[in-house]
């Protein structure tokens, strides 16, 4: 068996260790004897919808949003949409998630058109509240930063979120799950992420896949499902993954997600 990963914008959309998601998929395939190829798709490179089985896209700085956004619309958009409609899997995190919705309203009030894979839109909290982002404290006041725990079916997913955008699902859109800790989509309705066919959009980074091996396998199974019927994945020894998952979940649920700094002790 064989799958091809499309790693979108590795140089600008890989801010929060997102490479870890790619490594995780690659290893979990290799450990099972599944051939895996990673294609890096930078700005300017088009997507052939028949060739990619799993898209991975991570978080990026706000300043890169426009660049990526333009490329998504003009160069890659049609290919990605077709592939996803044909059943390709996708895992879009943070900024990747936001830009795969209908539109993204930036901190300065600019409205960027998105890919429209997810039936949702995002508004930066600073635009909602009219906050000027001119100090660390003000920038912090509009962001959701902390551990994020999500109930996904009978599973619990754990990761870290760090975003200023608030995402609102439109009617009929399916969320990934309910938040048990952290803000999730918008810190208002208790939902986190969005699912369309085999594509998942989420604010879970950390990166999410190493500590949530069931989610990683779900994506691998979906990607294989494009070419093979009734895919059964060989079980792996996930003892280490499960311990790491449980320890992180424990920490996330044990205390409020916003940490406090003692006496402003700085770090050299």
């Amino acid at each position: 068996m064989r799958i091809v990963i499309g790693y979108l914008y590795p140089s600008v959309m890989s801010q929060y260790g997102d490479l870890g998601n790619v490594i995780t998929i690659v290893r979990r395939c290799q450990w099972r004897g599944i051939d895996v190829e990673v294609r890096e798709l930078e700005v300017g490179e088009a997507v052939d919808p028949g060739h990619i089985d799993l898209f991975l896209v991570g978080g990026g700085a706000d300043t890169h949003q426009r660049l990526v956004c333009e490329d998504l619309l003009k160069v890659k958009g049609e290919g990605i949409r077709q592939a996803v409609d044909q059943g390709a899997a996708a895992f879009a995190v943070c900024a990747g998630y936001q830009l795969w919705g209908h539109h993204y309203h930036t901190a300065t009030g600019e409205k960027l058109a998105g890919l429209g894979v997810f039936n949702a839109h995002t508004i930066h909290r600073a635009a909602q509240t009219g906050t000027r982002l001119d100090t660390i404290a003000r920038a912090g006041s509009v962001r959701a930063v902390g551990n994020l725990v999500v109930k996904w079916g009978d599973q619990i997913l754990v990761g870290f979120e760090n975003h200023g955008g608030r995402t609102y699902l439109h009617s009929g859109a399916r969320p990934l799950g309910k938040t048990l800790a952290g803000g999730g989509n918008n810190s208002e309705d208790g939902w986190e992420g969005c699912v369309y066919k085999n594509a998942i959009g989420t604010y879970l980074h950390g990166p999410a896949l190493p500590k949530n091996p069931r989610l990683a396998d779900h994506l691998i199974r979906a990607a294989l499902g494009r070419h093979y019927r009734d895919v059964q994945l060989e079980p792996l020894d996930d003892t280490q993954e499960i311990v790491a998952h449980d320890r992180a979940t424990e920490r996330a649920l044990a205390r409020p997600s916003r940490g406090k700094r003692l006496w402003g002790q700085g770090v050299g």
Binding site: W31, I136, E234, A244, R247, G268
Partner: protein, 495 residues
């Protein structure tokens, strides 16, 4: 804390009350063994008198110097302060790495008289290292005559959110500085170098001009590969570490500025230090630095550029570099029986990569302890370990001990890095590294030391609070002196 007014107290009385409270807190803090009292006094004093840093800072006869950046600010500050001391100046500094405004406030209030007035000699100058996020308020409060910026790496995104955002805050702060201020910038860091465009202040660059340490291509931890001017891809002719190198944009033509202070012929002497030739406007010099790594050679370069702007003789800078003492957790050595530990603070992917490279730079097996915590000062988000190239450890590690509250995340990083045995399956790891998992940092340290052979060194790479926990215990057991005592010793020894 700029919150609140001075209240019903008259300004002079408020200042005196603030200073008195701060000094009392300092004495209590140390007496109670709560640490060095390096930020709490300033924190309390600022509550009472929010104008404290501004008021005392403006009274320093020779003004202030601010050093900021992600990595290397403590070392740069130390060399700069040392050079100024040997030039006969009285240096007010925050040597303990307490680099938010309360830390600066503490350093200042310790130099006041009973009325809360600054009591220093006419030769006094302030040399402060400042946290990236506190740079803007520090500039506003102190109106520095000189600013040194070492570099800008991705660090603690849960506190600073985005690298670009920090650069923007710095830019706004620098734009406020007049033509009488000098700004010293790292030419090799595109985002830092670009800060120097269109400023009223005078700008001067430092950089590396040494091909032998250049790497092919950028490492994954590189943070800014984009032209800060037009957003297109930067082309790198040389790449040193992280995103530091010689670059140019072939879209808009913006390129690395030519540095006035340049180091070449850098000779790295393992963990003991380095020797480099430095071109300065006053001629070429050889620098002997007792601190290891290319990044420390860059710190010495930054400090010498800064000192030169203040008119300090290059001979004195050379001597200060040669005599610099490693800061808290920067390759600090501890003797434990017939073994040794070497402790290195790591905060971000580029620092961790440089640390690993240093540890692996000479042949032979290595005993390692990696400590990862997720407290506020560490960064609550541990995702950055996925951008550290642990893969370079392949085949070199005799023991890998992992510790800290997020030790389990490190285990996964190593497992997915192909360094541990993944269990039954078609892929076997040739030589999985011997692993020791112990979340308690102190227990992990002594267990790892136990497994380190006599005469060998255990290398400890740990985040801030993990290192702090270990260090406190090593002090308690008499292996190390408290860090504030070291710092004070250094002040008296130099002054």
């Amino acid at each position: 804390m700029p919150s609140g007014k001075a209240g019903p107290l008259a300004p002079v009385a408020a200042r005196a009350a603030a200073v008195c409270t701060g000094k009392t807190a300092r004495v209590l803090s140390r007496a109670l063994g709560r640490g060095g009292g390096t930020t709490l006094p300033g924190h309390l004093a600022e509550r009472i008198d929010p104008g404290l840093v501004h008021g005392l800072g403006q009274a320093i006869p020779n003004g202030s110097v601010l050093v900021t950046g992600t990595n290397g600010k403590t070392t740069t500050t130390r060399i700069l302060a040392g050079a100024l001391r040997s030039a006969g100046l009285e240096v007010i500094t925050n040597p303990e790495g307490s680099n938010l405004l309360p830390g600066i406030a503490t350093a200042l209030l310790l130099r006041t008289d009973g009325w809360g007035r600054l009591a220093v000699s006419p030769s006094a100058i302030g040399v402060f290292e400042v946290d990236e996020g506190a740079f803007r308020p520090a500039v506003a409060a102190l109106s520095p005559r000189l600013v040194v910026i070492t570099n800008l790496f991705r660090d603690q995104l849960d506190r600073y959110f985005e690298v670009d955002f920090v650069a923007q805050l710095w830019r706004r702060a620098l734009q406020q500085l007049p033509a009488t201020t000098t700004i010293v910038l790292n030419a090799d860091d595109p985002q830092v170098a670009y800060l120097g465009e269109d400023l009223p202040a005078k700008v001067l660059y430092f950089g590396l001009d040494d091909r032998q340490w250049a790497r092919p291509g950028l490492e994954h931890a590189a943070d800014s590969r984009r032209c800060p001017k037009c957003g297109r891809d930067l082309l790198y002719g040389l790449s040193f570490y992280g995103h530091l190198g010689h670059y140019a944009c072939n879209q808009c033509g913006w390129r690395r500025p030519d540095p006035r202070f340049a180091a070449w012929n850098v000779e790295l002497q393992g963990l003991t230090g380095s020797r480099s030739r430095v071109a300065t406007p006053a001629g070429d010099r050889t620098f002997h630095l007792p601190l290891a790594g290319l990044y420390n050679a860059c710190n010495a370069l930054a400090a010498s550029a800064g000192a030169s702007c203040l008119g300090v003789d290059m001979d004195l800078v050379q001597a200060a570099a040669q005599g610099v003492v490693g800061a808290f957790g920067r390759l600090e050595r501890v003797r434990v029986g017939d073994k040794q530990a070497c402790v290195l603070l790591v905060k971000n992917p580029s620092g961790f990569n440089e640390g690993l490279r240093l540890v692996l730079s000479q042949d032979g097996p290595r005993w390692l302890l990696a400590g990862l915590n997720d407290g506020g000062p560490d960064g609550r988000d541990v995702s950055w370990i996925w951008d550290v190239d642990f893969e370079m450890c392949q085949g070199r590690i005799a023991l890998m001990a992992v510790s800290g509250r997020r030790a389990r995340d490190l285990v996964l990083r190593l497992k997915y890095g192909g360094l541990l045995d993944p269990g039954p399956g078609p892929v076997a790891v040739a030589s999985p590294m011997p692993l020791l998992v112990e979340e308690d940092m102190v227990r992990a340290f002594f267990a790892a030391i136990e497994r380190t052979p006599p005469g060998e060194t255990l290398y400890v790479l740990a985040t801030y609070t993990a290192m702090w926990t270990l260090r406190r215990e090593l002090v308690r057991r008499g292996y190390l002196a408290p860090f504030w005592r070291q710092a004070r010793f250094e002040e008296t020894a130099a002054g």
